[in-house]
């Protein structure tokens, strides 16, 4: 699974996710990546792209929940990502990346590593795999 989240110079957020799914999956299986609110979500607060165990991400409506706890609990972006990864996955394993309309970037995962990269206009840039 691959994904990208962006907030542009005008504060507009967008998210995209694409995948081949799981190795040895049943034909016809749908994962979280195409499900809006599960693997992908963007609104006027943030944008989120998820990856990992699709069935757990779907049941946790993971991407939408990041926006929801920002909107209703007033959490900041990284706190929202940490909350959702910690509280919404049950025993599932997953990771996500997110940006907010004010130009923040965040990620979180409970798996062994996640391939990720992030950058902001003030010059911050990070590419990583492990914790």
């Amino acid at each position: 699974t691959v994904g990208c989240v962006v907030v542009d110079n005008e504060g507009r957020c967008a998210a995209a996710t694409s995948t081949g799914g799981l190795m040895n999956k049943m034909t016809g299986r749908i994962g979280d990546s195409p499900l809006i609110g599960a693997g992908t979500y963007a609104c006027d607060i943030c944008a989120v792209s998820c990856t990992g165990e699709g069935e757990a991400i779907i049941r946790g409506t993971l991407a939408r929940d990041v926006a929801a706890v920002m909107e209703y609990k007033g959490l900041g972006l990284q706190d929202a990502v940490d909350f959702v990864v910690k509280e919404r996955l049950d025993e599932g394993m997953a990771g996500m990346i997110a940006v907010s309309k004010i130009g923040e970037v965040a990620y979180g995962f409970n798996t062994t590593g996640m391939f990720r990269g992030c950058a902001t206009e003030d010059g911050y840039m990070e590419v990583g795999i492990w914790e």
């Binding site: 962006v6 110079n9 967008a14 923040e104």
Partner: protein, 195 residues
């Protein structure tokens, strides 16, 4: 006012702890290349929706990660891809599933968002729409890599469905994670054993 633009990319959660340094380096190079592609697009004032499509297309085209070329294989050894895209300001969205000849599924998802009355098309409907829209289509074999044929064989021997982050116990040369009884959707994976 915000702090300006920001971008993040991912190539999948869950990595074999013993992934070789060489493959880790290849993955980081691709992530860096995609970040720089997105950064220069943002500096040229492309909109967020254009940038996410541009970057995910690059990730789909490179076989390193599980999407587009290099996608995971079904139990039948074929590729069925899916993608979605969402534009925050008006929460417009588009998604496709079960596509097997569309070179860049994320661009078809965007066309669903912009050129169809729906938000999600799947399987033959998505393929018909792709033909109608004239997107680039290739043979299913284009998406299949030798690595993944080998991975599928191991997954079948282990009677497992291989998540990005879990490897079958059978000896993948880089495999190390012991896989306990895998549950999916609360059920044991072994229900797929007949596969």
């Amino acid at each position: 006012m915000g702090r300006g633009w920001a971008i993040a990319v991912h190539g999948g959660a869950g990595v074999d702890p013993n992934l070789s340094q060489e493959r880790q380096e290849l993955a980081k190079q691709l992530l860096t290349r995609c970040l720089n592609l997105g950064i220069s697009a943002l500096r040229s004032s492309l909109s967020a929706i254009d940038v996410v499509e541009l970057v995910v297309r690059e990730l789909e085209t490179d076989p390193i990660f599980n999407s587009g070329r290099g996608s995971a294989l079904t139990a039948k050894g074929t590729v069925e891809m899916e993608a979605s895209i969402m534009d925050g300001p008006k929460r417009r969205c588009g998604a496709v599933s079960g596509v097997s000849t569309v070179k860049n599924p994320v661009s078809l998802a965007r066309l669903v968002m912009e050129k169809s009355p729906h938000s999600y098309l799947a399987f033959s409907g998505a393929e018909d729409f792709a033909k109608q829209q004239g997107v680039e289509m290739v043979d299913n074999g284009y998406f299949i890599t030798e690595d993944n044929v080998g991975m599928l064989k191991l997954a079948k021997e282990a009677n497992a469905i291989v998540f990005d982050y879990r490897m079958p116990t059978v000896g993948l040369e880089t495999c190390s994670a012991e896989v306990g009884p895998i549950l999916m959707n609360g059920l044991s994976i072994s229900i797929y054993a007949p596969e």
